[in-house]
């Protein structure tokens, strides 16, 4: 479904909040029909970038084109092409889901015929049919988020911008939401989403831009990023708390990092070395909880690039 046509083109984007550089020479392009992720910790500049694309914030320097339209010259045309789904639920509690949709549709001057069609489609497609006529205040958190997403795409925009759409979700609802995003992609939408969840970026994004301190520090497909920057696979050993010293003596000859009761061993061929390590641990009667080969994650990529974890916030 992904084409090679670039529909969002950002070039040399700069944004300052006083002395602080929120965005520092950010450049990237988003292909039509792909899910493009912005991955980074809180404060990396993801939300600022998304809000600029949605016309909520101005930028100091650079150029943004959406479908060939200049964001500065044609902000209203561009806004009509984007569906914005922020992390907070922006629905009116006292109105029903349908009434919220009607309001959202009116902002885009949708005709009543088109609105009817879209409500029918969205409610089935995004699973809001059963609570369409219920007031938002009566909905669960998950229902609200689904309704929020549906309201964001009620005008059938080709681009959907989602700012940390699954933050605070439990794993089941998160997975359900990922499926919804993939379904939107299958219906030809281009999705640009921000997240600080490496699994989310890995699971659903076609390409990921890793952001740190207002800059894009790496951009590619998750698999390529992991392979080229994340390093080789390693062996992870987790032992009982009182066995850590004994285990470390055994593993000492390998290149390793230990933290609490977990030791990560870096060797050239982890799949061959893992049985050898297991055997040694068993022979010394060291009680192990887990011995496994772990592939590099986007978190590893981020750590390699910045020296920090994704969950760390900027001071």
């Amino acid at each position: 479904m992904t084409s090679e046509k670039m529909i969002i083109e950002v070039e040399g984007l700069m944004k300052h909040y006083g002395e602080v550089k929120a965005l520092d020479d950010v450049s990237f392009s988003v292909k039509e029909g792909e899910i493009f992720g912005l991955l980074g910790p809180n404060g990396a500049g993801k939300t600022t970038l998304m809000e600029i694309l949605c016309g909520l914030r101005r930028f100091d320097e650079g150029k943004v084109n959406v479908f060939g339209l200049d964001l500065v010259k044609d902000p209203y045309k561009i806004r009509s092409l984007i569906g914005f789904c922020p992390q907070e639920t922006l629905l009116y509690d006292l109105l029903s889901v349908r009434e919220n949709f009607a309001f959202a549709a009116s902002l885009y001057s949708l005709s009543s015929r088109k609105f009817k069609e879209r409500v029918e489609f969205s409610s089935k497609f995004l699973g809001v049919e059963e609570f369409l006529n219920r007031r938002v205040q009566q909905l669960s958190g998950g229902m609200k988020r689904r309704a929020n997403l549906a309201a964001s795409v009620i005008h059938d925009p080709p681009i959907v911008i989602l700012d940390e759409p699954t933050v605070g979700f439990d794993p089941n609802i998160k997975r359900e939401f990922w499926e919804l995003m993939k379904a939107l992609k299958d219906h030809g939408k281009t999705l640009l989403l921000s997240t600080h969840d490496m699994y989310e970026a890995d699971e659903i994004c076609d390409r990921v831009a890793i952001m740190d301190e207002g800059k894009i520090v790496a951009l590619d497909k998750p698999l390529i990023l992991k392979k080229t920057i994340g390093g080789e696979a390693s062996i992870r050993v987790r032992v009982k708390d009182d066995q850590v010293e004994k285990a470390l003596k055994l593993i000492d000859k390998y290149n390793h990092i230990a933290k609490d009761n977990e030791v990560q061993v870096f060797v050239a061929n982890p799949w061959e070395t893992m049985p050898e390590i297991s055997k040694k641990l068993i022979s010394q009667r060291i009680l192990t909880e887990k011995v496994e080969v772990v592939e590099p994650t986007l978190e590893d990529v981020f750590i390699k690039l910045t020296g920090r974890r994704l969950t760390e916030e900027y001071k």
Partner: protein, 374 residues
């Protein structure tokens, strides 16, 4: 749906679902109207307790004085046998004045044609003191005239006679006819301003303004939508107040809807525009709401709602004359009391239109500036 209508429909629907808001939208005019009906719905809108000490005993003259004071309707008399006791009640502000009819009052009046009455007035409230003093003095002047006419069977003439007449354009009015046009300014001043103050600041607080701003709707259209909803809510307040005024006070006024409606509309637009300005300046809903209430309370003294602006010191009158709502109050009064025609209220209408346009433009600029600051 048109985005302006969409925003207005959303706001009106939300309004109808907020039971507390509906309650206060209706309760506010009801309370104000009931209060004003209780105060001004009577023929004589003033009554004070007066202590009477009759040291002259019961004579036809003292009987006539006491029953005469009683029948004015302005005073409620309390009889005291001891003057000191009456003065203690005066100090306790249980009575507003003490009238002492001295010994030989009737005799002196009949045979020397001159007598004295002692009047002590509570000075803690200058307005009440003045009304009570004037009322009692006038009563005795009139009483003496009546007594003179009866005794000498001829008309008493004061040295200079002032022939006073009252000019009325329209019909003769009473207190309630005077107060109703002023009360109809309440929704223009309070409902419109308070409703529109909440319009942006609450959306901003809740975060929903983000959604509106991320859509292709232009700021001016967003404000138009908010204005439509605020106009609707103000109209409800005006309607409730009008119905109550007609049913409770039954004032003899000219209800020329074709003239009153545009004045009300322009007055509301001024209030709404002012509210939008406050909404753009206020950072939190509470701050904006407090600002709107404070401004409303202050403005009501400047615009001639309760009393003519001539009551104000000159420098405050000048302020009153630059407040657009003064012209709405004036135009409403002109139509309802003076039966003014369209050509007679053109100037206030032009002033209201110009001020609404200017205030609205300032509101739009402030909103745009706030958006740009983001």
């Amino acid at each position: 749906m048109n985005p302006i209508v969409g925003i207005a429909v959303k706001d009106v629907k939300t309004f109808f679902r907020e039971k507390g808001t509906i309650f206060w939208t209706i309760a506010f005019p009801v309370l104000i109207m009931l209060l004003f009906t209780a105060i001004f719905g009577r023929d004589i809108p003033f009554n004070a307790n007066i202590g009477i000490v009759n040291e002259d005993g019961q004579t036809p003259i003292t009987d006539a004085v006491i029953s005469g004071l009683n029948s004015t309707g302005v005073f409620t008399l309390r009889n005291f046998t001891d003057r000191n006791e009456a003065l203690r009640e005066l100090n306790a502000t249980n009575v507003r004045a003490v009238v002492t009819i001295p010994q030989n009052f009737s005799f002196d009046l009949m045979f020397t044609n001159h007598s004295k009455i002692s009047l002590v007035v509570d000075g803690t409230n200058p307005d009440v003191a003045r009304l009570v003093e004037d009322g009692i003095k006038n009563f005795f002047t009139e009483y003496y005239k009546m007594l003179y006419n009866q005794t000498y069977n001829m008309t008493y003439y004061e040295p200079i006679t002032v022939n006073a007449e009252t000019s009325f354009v329209g019909q003769r009015i009473g207190y309630k006819e005077n107060i109703v046009p002023g009360m109809l300014c309440y929704p223009l001043l309070f409902s419109s301003m308070v409703v529109s103050t909440g319009a942006i600041v609450y959306e901003r607080e809740k975060g929903t303004l983000k959604k509106i701003r991320a859509s292709p709707i232009r700021p001016i259209n967003m404000l138009f939508g908010k204005t439509l909803a605020a106009l609707f809510q103000t109209a409800i307040s005006i309607l409730v107040m009008t119905v109550l005024a007609v049913t409770l006070l039954t004032p003899r006024l000219n209800w020329n809807v074709s003239l009153l409606a545009p004045i009300m509309f322009l007055g509301s637009m001024n209030g709404i525009a002012l509210g939008l300005i406050i909404s753009c300046i206020g950072r939190a809903p509470q701050e904006a709401s407090n600002a709107a209430t404070t401004i409303g309370i202050v403005l009501q003294f400047f615009i001639g709602m309760y009393f003519p602006i001539e009551y104000l010191p000159i420098y405050l009158q000048q302020i009153g004359r630059v407040i657009p709502m003064t012209y709405a109050a004036q135009a409403i009064r002109d139509v309802m009391v003076r039966n003014a025609a369209l050509n007679e209220i053109v100037m206030p209408m032009i002033t209201l239109t110009a001020s609404a346009t200017i205030l609205y433009a300032v509101g739009v600029l402030l909103y745009k500036r706030w958006v740009e600051k983001e």
